[in-house]
């Protein structure tokens, strides 16, 4: 049915339009000053005038995010493979991965910023720490949940560990790995922003977080909202791109990527 088919597109648009219109009306009706809550029109204008400089900051944040995600995928994936090859390694190291995960990044970011001289590198380390865990946890789970009977079949035909890893465990882990990457994409962005909040403004190139802080100090609330808007938009785009990638890689076989049946 058409209604069901287009609902995922139209539904959010309708909700968005209603919220923005309600917001606009509320700001006008209660005469809320822009330094408390700017209306959507003011924010849109700020976005237009400050756009170029905000985009430059966004690019800085984005570079950290993408680099952190890449690093998290490489390190997390490698660690998960190591875990799957040796149970001893897994049980010895996994608790520490958990510790790293449950430690709030704001509490270790100051240390990292002291230890690592380069600001970009320091923020990268923080964002990577935040983004790393879902990939390790998901990929480890995926590598270990290959079909038992298929594992037996590989054994029956005398497959080696690496052969089993390459031909069976890695493909079995792909859906969960990709789900982990999707979560980590958003976390990398959050990590990059939070770490920059802690690092504060400094250095020549500043990311979006510094712009938000700066705008807050100067009570330039519309610019703060404009920066926030760009940030959420970035988060949504990252999620959409990673979801698309996941569907594309799994389209032939995994339930999550199949077209809904008629």
């Amino acid at each position: 049915m058409n209604g069901a088919r287009f609902a995922p597109v139209i539904g959010p648009i309708v909700v968005g339009v209603l919220v923005v219109a309600g917001w606009h009306e509320a700001v006008r009706f209660f005469a809320i000053p822009p330094y408390v809550l700017p209306g959507p029109g003011v924010i849109a204008r700020t976005l237009w005038t400050d756009g170029p400089s905000l985009l430059a900051s966004l690019l800085v944040t984005l570079r950290i995010t993408v680099a952190a995600l890449a690093l998290a995928v490489a390190l997390g994936g490698a660690l998960a493979v190591l875990f799957s090859l040796s149970k001893t390694v897994e049980v010895s190291f996994f608790p520490y991965a958990v510790i790293l995960q449950v430690t709030p990044v704001v509490s270790i970011a100051p240390l990292i910023i002291i230890w690592v001289n380069d600001v970009f590198a320091a923020l990268l380390v923080c964002a990577t720490i935040v983004a790393f865990f879902p990939i390790v946890a998901n990929t480890t789970l995926g590598l270990n949940s290959a079909d038992r009977n298929l594992v037996d079949l590989f054994r029956l035909y005398g497959a080696g560990r690496l052969q089993t890893l390459r031909l069976l465990r890695l493909p079995s882990a792909l859906p969960l790995f990709l789900a982990g990457v999707r979560i980590s994409g958003g976390l990398a962005l959050i990590g990059a922003v939070v770490a920059e909040f802690v690092a504060g403004t400094g250095g020549a190139k500043t990311g979006l977080a510094s712009r938000i802080i700066e705008a807050g100090y100067r009570l330039e609330i519309p610019r703060m909202f404009a920066a926030l808007f760009l940030l959420s938009l970035t988060g949504i785009v990252i999620f959409a791109v990673l979801s698309w990638l996941s569907r594309r890689l799994l389209r032939h076989w995994h339930e999550s990527a199949l077209e809904p049946s008629d």
């Binding site: 079909d147 009977n149 298929l150 037996d152 079949l153 590989f154 054994r155 029956l156 035909y157 005398g158 497959a159 052969q163 031909l167 069976l168 493909p171 792909l174 032939h252 076989w253 995994h254 199949l258």
Partner: protein, 248 residues
């Protein structure tokens, strides 16, 4: 008497959790036989088959396998157990690939095997695009492509509808006649075991023991018509009676 392929003597298996699955199995399988293992659910049929395949170790007794059996066992599970990310062709290629057979050498063998199971036009399909019966055919093709000395099947058709099961029974019987391999076929269906095999061993409830070893005296070539023949129903009745004895 044909050469002995597998000989189990007083095989027993208890799991670590204390469940005794098998208690004293004596079973000899000769080259070229088609043996059915018949017993109620949970009596240890899968456990026995896994031991015969070398996938599990018995806790007591001994198992002798002919020298050419080791490494030449094919196994078909109750589920098709295919790799969902791989095409039909790649799934059937898997055992050859694991043994280092190159694609060029494997291609004609896989082609012939797919054709003989009626899968010729599905080589590039993915498992999810196939029906349950077709998936099971792929699973059988994968087991046969290595030309195993011993083929073990663990209730492969239990989840299929009757029409599909009947057709697969006929095809498997014909394959066995053509390939002349040795088959041990586990089932809990009297009708299936009588239709397919030349010899039926009946197992008791857990812990499993073999209580009867019956020849199936039916024509060598069997087709759908046999299901309506009085000789078939007589044979089924006789085996059912033995199974009923085993259950008390």
């Amino acid at each position: 008497m044909a050469e002995t392929l597998v000989a189990a003597a007083a095989l027993a298996k208890s799991f670590r959790n204390g469940v005794a699955a098998l208690a004293g199995i004596d079973l000899t399988v000769s080259r070229g036989e088609f043996v059915g293992v018949l017993g109620p659910s949970g009596c240890g049929k899968s456990t026995l088959l896994r031991i015969l395949a070398g996938l599990a170790e018995p806790t007591a007794g001994r198992l002798d396998r002919g020298t050419d059996v080791a490494g030449r066992v094919g196994f078909v599970f109750q589920e098709p157990t295919l790799m969902p990310w791989a095409t039909v062709w790649a799934n059937v290629y898997l055992p050859l690939r694991l043994r280092g057979v190159g694609r060029d050498v494997a291609t004609p063998r896989i082609g012939a095997m797919l054709d003989s199971l009626g899968l010729g036009e599905f080589a590039r399909a993915y498992p999810r695009q196939l029906s349950g019966g077709m998936r099971m055919r792929v699973s059988i093709a994968r087991a046969l492509v290595t030309e195993p000395a011993l083929l073990l099947l663990d209730e492969p058709f239990a989840a299929l509808d009757e029409i599909t099961r009947f057709k697969l029974n006929e095809d498997l019987r014909a394959l066995w006649r053509n390939l002349r391999c040795t088959i041990v076929f586990v089932t809990h269906s009297v009708f299936e075991s009588v239709f397919l095999t030349n010899r039926i061993v009946v197992m008791t409830k857990r812990p499993g023991r073999i209580v009867a070893d019956l020849p199936v005296n039916l024509p060598e070539t069997r087709d759908a018509g046999l299901r309506l023949a009085p000789v078939y129903s007589d044979a089924c009745r006789a085996v059912s009676a033995k199974l009923a004895e085993a259950m008390v």
